[in-house]
Structure formats: structure tokens, C-alpha cells
């Protein structure tokens, strides 16, 4: 590895335990050598078209736009990809690569369960063995996805350590990987972790931005003024942003999980200002913004959406923030739940609670924009998995 490999400004890097350094370097080489070859790209494109159902549509949210009375809102419909979220773009790419590397088994972590389902799906489609690690708290709030993974032939292992959420599932997946790395590929689900993951996951998710950019141009004749996506680890956001980084006229906004508010410690807004926000640190192999206490211990996080409930963030987002190319804001649990309801009744779409954070911010911002402005929202996943959670919350509210 050359110095500066996998860096985004100061952020990123390869802070991995020694046992993983060799395998990560091999993965980097395989992704560069095999993954960039025309044969691999053609095969990946075929899978994305014939299996995932790409391109996903761009929907003009006419009623929501009318109701808010500001910018025209367009939704990039990743919820319509096979398995119901953008996660499949990455898992098909990584599993295809893993198979070419001769791996017979894949493992994954999952928060909301969407990445677990997408990995289990790709593993089934390519005939690989699959184990998914999931925090016990998340297994409860996303019980339907646990069963989906099992139906797809994956083994789901509950993680009872730490906060029993996404970060603990990553810890456990890494523990599995250091022991099994010779035959196993770790399908990391977001644009985080040690190099080459942030770059590779962005690569596989960049199809979102490429399609969306073309679709907006096609239907409106110009670029959007603003592109917004929710940011947990940040893979759907970086996938969307990647196509617009050189279009300086397009403002990029990432929406983090504000939980119970960034004036409380119960949130997952790494970029929040003030004493409860994050600062640079190293977790899971990468140098990035991290929610940590005064002693450098990782702080517990909270979000109504399991997929955003993570204390660190993809390193490229940390750099985009540092360079001022993207802005990071947050939406609270309550705002996301309101947006969930609003999109359901105005557009007939149940968004994932993760994506509802992006919708929430769009709903707040659109009214102050001009009527011919274009606001592009990445609808990263569908909300079927969250119906139980929402019902439980509404039930409580009516008591």
C-alpha cells in the first residue's frame, strides 16, 4: 500500500488489524484489476438490468410539490430496485467480485436489515454461503427482514455485545472475517471501513447518481439545484453525490439522524455542531467524524431508523464537509415519521424510515425555493420493513 492510499483529504485510510491488511490489499487489487475490466462491467450491468431492474425510475412528486408550493421535487426511486433498497447495487458488485476471487462464503453486517437481505439475495443468486450479523435490538425492530434473510438461505447471527446495533454487528462481522478470510469475503454495506471499501462501495453505488443525473436532464432539460440523501454510513448519498461533484451549481445535502434532537445526546448526527456532535476519530478502519466521549470511547447513538443508527460516517463525506462541497444537516425521529406519513398520503409511496429523513429535510426546504427550482431526493428504500415500527409508535401515541 502506498502512503495516502484511500485518503479523502485527511480522512479515510486503512486502520485495520494486521490479519486484514493482506486480504484488504488483495481485495483492492482485485477490484482494480478484475472490477475495472470490460468483462466484469458488462456482466455487472447485465445483472443490474436483468435482475435488479435498473434503471430505477425518476418520479416527479407532483402532489407533494403542489402541497409545499416551492421547488419541483423529483424522487430517485431506489425503493423500486429488487429487494427494496439501493443496497443491492453494492452487494451484486461485491458478490460478483468475491466469486471471481474464488471465495465460497460471504458475510455481512446489517442494521435495518436491507443490506443483509441484499447480501443474502446476491449470495443465493450466485450460490455462495452467507452469514449475516445483526444486533439484537435491530433484530427486534426489523423482525420481518430477519425472516426474509432466512428464507433466502442465509444464517442470521444475533449480536448481543455493546449497544446491540449496527456498529456491534460490524465488530462481529470483522471478528468472523479475521478468522475466515481465506475463503470468505466481507460484503461491507456502506461506504465506510478501511480502504478499499469506501471507494469500492461508492463505485458500485455511483449508478444511482449517473442514472439520476441523466434522468433529471432528460425530463427537465437541466441539472437539479439541490440533491439530497440520508446519511448513515453514507452509501446511497455518496452514490447520488458522485455524479454531481463537478457540477458546482448543484448543492449537495446529506441528512443525518437527529434522533430526539441534537441538543440531546440521543441522536446519530456525527456532523452536528455543539457539544453533542462528533469529531474526527478512528472506528472500523477509517479516520472520519465519530461520536465519541472525552476519553475517545465510542458513544451510544439513537435513531428511529436502524440504518442510520451508527456513530461514524463514510470518510468521503467527512472530506466533502471539510471542503464545503456538501452540507450536512439532520432530521429528528419526529420529523422523519411526519415525512413518512406525508409521502404515503400525497404520493402513495411508503419510504424507508432512513429515506424519510431526506424527505423530511426536502419538505422543510422546498417551500423556500423558487417554483422552477429542482430538488432531487434519493428515495433509498421502501418502508415496508418499517410498518411494524411505525404502528408501534402510533399505538403509543394514541394511548
Amino acid at each position: 500500500m502506498k502512503p495516502g492510499t484511500g485518503r479523502y483529504g485527511d480522512f479515510g485510510g486503512m486502520y485495520a488489524p494486521e490479519t486484514l491488511m493482506g486480504p484488504l490489499t488483495e481485495l483492492d487489487e482485485a477490484w482494480r484489476r478484475i472490477g475495472s475490466g470490460p468483462g466484469f462491467r458488462a456482466e455487472l450491468d447485465r445483472w443490474l438490468t436483468d435482475y435488479v431492474g435498473r434503471p430505477t425510475p425518476l418520479t416527479f412528486a407532483a402532489r407533494l410539490t403542489g402541497k409545499l408550493g416551492g421547488a419541483r421535487i423529483f424522487l430517485k426511486r431506489e425503493d423500486l430496485a429488487h429487494t427494496g433498497a439501493h443496497k443491492i447495487n453494492n452487494t451484486i458488485g461485491q458478490v460478483l467480485l468475491a466469486r471471481k476471487m474464488g471465495k465460497t462464503r460471504v458475510i455481512a453486517e446489517t442494521g435495518a436489515g436491507q443490506h443483509g437481505v441484499a447480501t443474502a439475495t446476491a449470495a443465493a443468486a450466485f450460490g455462495l454461503e452467507c452469514t449475516v450479523y445483526m444486533g439484537e435490538v435491530d433484530m427486534q425492530r426489523q423482525a420481518l427482514n430477519v425472516f426474509r434473510m432466512q428464507l433466502l438461505g442465509a444464517e442470521v447471527k444475533g449480536v448481543s455485545s455493546g449497544s446491540r446495533t449496527l456498529k456491534d454487528a460490524i465488530n462481529e462481522a470483522m471478528r468472523d472475517w479475521v478468522a475466515t478470510v481465506r475463503n470468505t469475503h466481507y460484503v461491507l454495506g456502506s461506504a465506510l471501513g478501511p480502504h478499499p471499501y469506501p471507494a469500492m462501495v461508492r463505485d458500485f453505488q455511483s449508478v444511482i447518481g449517473r442514472e439520476a443525473r441523466g434522468q433529471v436532464l432528460n425530463s427537465t432539460g437541466r441539472l437539479p439545484d439541490l440533491a439530497v440523501a440520508c446519511v448513515g454510513g453514507g452509501s446511497n448519498a455518496i452514490g447520488l453525490f458522485s455524479a454531481f461533484l463537478d457540477d458546482q451549481s448543484v448543492a449537495l445535502v446529506g441528512v443525518e439522524a437527529g434522533g430526539e434532537g441534537t441538543d440531546t445526546p440521543r441522536h446519530a448526527a456525527r456532523f452536528a455542531d455543539g457539544p453533542t456532535g462528533g469529531r474526527p476519530g478512528v472506528l472500523h478502519g477509517t479516520y472520519t467524524y465519530l461520536l465519541q466521549d472525552a476519553d475517545g470511547q465510542v458513544r451510544p447513538t439513537h435513531s428511529v431508523s436502524a440504518g442510520l443508527d451508527y456513530p461514524a460516517v463514510g470518510p468521503e463525506h467527512a472530506d466533502l464537509k471539510a471542503r464545503g462541497r456538501a452540507t450536512y444537516v439532520s432530521a429528528t425521529d419526529a420529523e422523519a415519521l411526519d415525512a413518512f406519513d406525508a409521502l404515503a398520503v400525497t404520493e402513495g409511496i411508503l419510504p424507508a424510515l432512513e429515506s424519510a429523513h431526506a424527505i423530511a429535510w426536502a419538505m422543510k426546504t422546498a417551500p423556500s425555493m423558487k417554483r422552477d427550482d429542482i430538488l432531487l431526493v434519493n428515495l433509498s428504500g421502501r418502508g415496508d420493513k418499517d410498518v411494524e415500527t411505525v404502528r408501534a409508535i402510533k399505538g403509543k401515541g394514541h394511548e
Partner: protein, 271 residues
């Protein structure tokens, strides 16, 4: 000569491999850690490894994970650990101490302060489990400046080129991970360990310590046949769970003594 290499050399002069016990600092309290340190030194340990607890110890197995969790619940901090080391030194503990830590607590303190304050407290070296030499330039620079020795890991997946880099970055010793996987006891040593250690010994100039999964005197002896030092962690850490810290110290003493005897030496008398 480095203090760490000197301690390993000292064991060699006695005709055995060095014995390096690991305990998690602050589990169940820093007072208990001081007692364990004293006990292990009296039993004849050559170097003490002190684990700095971290919320997300992804290179550790269940025993060390729960030890870290207990230590953190008890309010253990890196500053607190350095204070405890200062006290241990003041009360006569003289074997070299190596901190085994994840990178974020170090980064949070600042590389320079970590190296400087560790040395000031009486820590001899550090091993940062998620800081490979490729990312360690500025840390190594600070460590050299303050005289903190730097130990790096090598593993069965390490290439010959990287092994040379690890050797060049390490002072004291190179820590060889005996098998793929996290820390914690295993039934058997890896079948290829002897061969791997011979290759490593043939490449690196620094002494080689072997650890991860060594829990019995027999395993220690077997691993020691091909290494300069043996690290034993989880097998000792699990005793710290005992309700009575004196009893825990007794059990550590018993296992450490058997391990050292197995390595070819009778325990030294109590200091």
C-alpha cells in the same frame, strides 16, 4: 538495548522463552490490576501487557470483550490507567509494561501526549492493534522522540515485504498472531504455526513473541519452541471475573507459574 528486548534476552539467559501475561486494565478495578501486575511479576513474568479497554474491540474474542466492558463500566480511562502505572512503578513493579490498545483512545489523547505521558508514567512500549505501520509514521516519530517502544503485529496473512516493514517499525519485539482470528483460548495451536514462526524468525531481526489463543502450559511450551516469547491473555483475563480479587490473583499466579515452569524455569521468590 531496548528494555523489552532486554527482558526477552534476560529470559533467554535463563534458558527459556519470555513469558508475557496480558490483563485488561481496570477489570474489575485499577486497584485489582495493580494487584494482578504485582502477582504476575512475582510469578516470574518478564513483560506485562496491559489492555486499554475500548468500546468496540473488534479484534478481541468474548473474554477480552467482556473484560473491556467491565473496565469501562467501572469508569476506567486512559489517563486513569497511566496514573495506575505511575503508582505501580512507585510501589516497586519493575518489569517492562506494554500497553495493548485500539487507536482511537490514543488519537483522542494526541499521539505526542500519549507517547510522552505513557513514558512519564513508566510504560515502556505500546502495541496499537488497528494501527498498521503504513498508517503509523507520525506515531512512530512521536514514540521515538519520547522513547516509547513500538510493537507491531504480524500474522499468517502478512506478506514477506510487509514483514520487513513491520520489523523495521518495531522496537522491542514483533508480536506474531498465532492463527487467523480474534484473541481467546483455542483447543489446539495452528498446525502450521511452527513452520510460520520459522519463516518469521528467518526474516525479522527483532525478537518474536507469539500470542492469540495460547491458554495452557502445554500450548505455551509448544509455541515457545519456535519463538522468543509467549503472550497469554484471555486464559488469565477470565480469572478477573472472580468475585474475590485475591482469589483471582491466586488463580493467575497458579497458571502463570505453571506456564513459566513449562517454559523451563521455576518461579522467582516474592519480591
Amino acid at each position: 538495548m531496548s528494555r523489552l528486548a532486554g527482558a526477552i534476552e534476560g529470559a533467554r539467559a535463563k534458558g527459556r522463552a519470555a513469558f508475557i501475561p496480558y490483563v485488561t486494565a481496570g477489570d474489575p478495578s485499577l486497584e485489582a490490576t495493580a494487584l494482578f501486575a504485582k502477582t504476575l511479576a512475582a510469578a516470574g513474568a518478564d513483560i506485562l501487557e496491559l489492555g486499554v479497554p475500548f468500546t468496540d474491540p473488534f479484534a478481541d474474542g468474548p473474554v477480552n470483550q467482556s473484560a473491556a466492558q467491565r473496565a469501562l463500566l467501572g469508569g476506567t480511562t486512559l489517563n486513569g490507567i497511566l496514573d495506575a502505572v505511575t503508582h505501580m512503578r512507585a510501589s516497586g513493579l519493575d518489569i517492562p509494561i506494554v500497553l495493548f490498545t485500539y487507536f482511537n483512545p490514543v488519537l483522542n489523547m494526541g499521539r505526542r501526549d500519549f507517547c510522552r505521558l505513557s513514558r512519564k508514567a513508566g510504560v515502556d512500549g505500546a502495541l496499537i492493534v488497528d494501527l498498521p505501520p503504513e498508517e503509523a509514521d507520525s506515531y512512530i516519530e512521536e514514540a521515538r522522540r519520547s522513547g516509547l517502544e513500538t510493537v507491531f503485529l504480524a500474522s499468517p496473512t502478512t506478506s514477506p515485504e510487509r514483514l520487513r516493514l513491520i520489523d523495521a517499525s518495531s522496537t522491542g519485539f514483533v508480536y506474531y498472531v498465532s492463527r487467523l482470528g480474534v484473541t481467546g483460548a483455542r483447543e489446539n495451536l495452528s498446525a502450521t504455526l511452527a513452520e510460520e514462526l520459522n519463516t518469521v524468525k528467518g526474516t525479522v531481526k527483532a525478537p518474536v513473541a507469539v500470542g492469540f489463543g495460547i491458554s495452557t502450559p502445554d500450548q505455551a511450551r509448544e509455541a515457545a519452541a519456535h519463538a522468543d516469547a509467549v503472550v497469554v491473555g484471555s486464559a488469565l483475563v477470565k480469572f478477573a471475573r472472580h468475585d474475590d480479587v485475591n482469589k483471582a490473583a491466586e488463580m493467575m499466579n497458579e497458571l502463570a507459574s505453571r506456564m513459566i515452569a513449562g517454559l523451563g524455569l521455576t518461579p522467582r521468590p516474592e519480591v
